[in-house]
Amino acid sequence: MAARRSVPDVAEQTAQTAPPAIRTEPAAAKPDSAVVRDALGVGVAVGLSGFAFGVTSAGSGLTLLQTCALSLLVFTGASQFALVGALAAGGNPFTAAAGAFFLGVRNAFYGLRLSQLLALPRFVRPFAAHWVIDETTAVTLAQPSRRSARLGFTVTGLTLYVLWNLTTLVGAVGAEALGDTDAWGLDAASPAVFLALLAPMLRTGMERAVAGLAVLLAVGLLPVLPAGVPVLVAALAAPAVLCVQGRRAGRTEKEEGR
């Protein structure tokens, strides 16, 4: 479960970890079995990290019901990790939800691409929407035809949804059995998930600048602002760097114009 950049990058990034089948050139007509295999591969690999979420959420003090409700109703991993992290740090519910929400905004852009590819009937869209996340987008975009796109989206979505929720439940129940989850190093799972999602996005200097500035803001403001707020302020690194870069580009154009 994930968070990130523009849609085509997602397809490439998932291809690194996905079964080899996804990497091959799209054939004119892809057999259904190949599509299902791709979709199951991604679904199983990522679905299992629901276990880490279940453990983290329970370790953060959420009840079993609250943990499972998050996976059932929110179903976008990075937002879920961010929310339980902010709540554990003592953030107020709205600040915590705002951070989680902003991480989820990228799904709207995935939906834009998917709605063209899948061409779903209007009445199906409210149901399909719940599955519009990084992994389903990655698999769907890799498909050569509408038929295989629909199949890929459905199988990935279903596999992920079932596994993510089951493993969340197992993780949350397991956390109680484990006792002190910190002794098992499980408090490192959540930042590692964020880092794994972030790494493939750091391609150009601009993305690195945004990440660097965001880290400075988040860490620097942490001791002085209420919990959850520093992350929201750090999000401003994105428009700030865009603005500086836009000005620089403008200046170069002017100089070139002379």
């Binding site: 989680a100 490192a188 919990a227």
Partner: protein
């Protein structure tokens, strides 16, 4: 109760943005500036969250076993390890450092 409020707000907000993407006509959000901002926003948030959850407890900055765990995760990423291995490396190394340092 406040936890449930946070869960409800997140669930509704996240669902609505997903739905928005499927419902709005193509082109409405396709302006270059909007797309670039949407691509950079998760970069900023993920970087901030990674740093904060690694180097702080509550409102205090601190360097502990999690730092070593994250370094292991970063190494795994450089080696192009799969997602689960990256997370596993962070967990195992963090637990190991804690066990050793007692």
């Amino acid at each position: 109760m406040s936890v449930w409020i946070a869960i409800g707000a997140t669930a509704i907000g996240c669902y609505l943005v997903k739905l928005l993407g499927l419902l709005v006509p193509a082109g409405a959000l396709e302006r270059p500036l909007v797309k670039r901002l949407a691509a950079l926003l998760p970069v900023a948030l993920l970087a901030a969250l990674t740093a904060q959850q690694t180097f702080s407890t509550g409102q205090q900055l601190m360097l502990d076993a999690r730092g070593a765990g994250l370094a292991a995760a970063a190494l795994a990423l450089v080696l192009r390890a799969p997602f689960l291995v990256v997370v596993g490396a962070a967990v195992v190394v963090t637990a190991g450092v804690r066990a050793v340092s007692g």
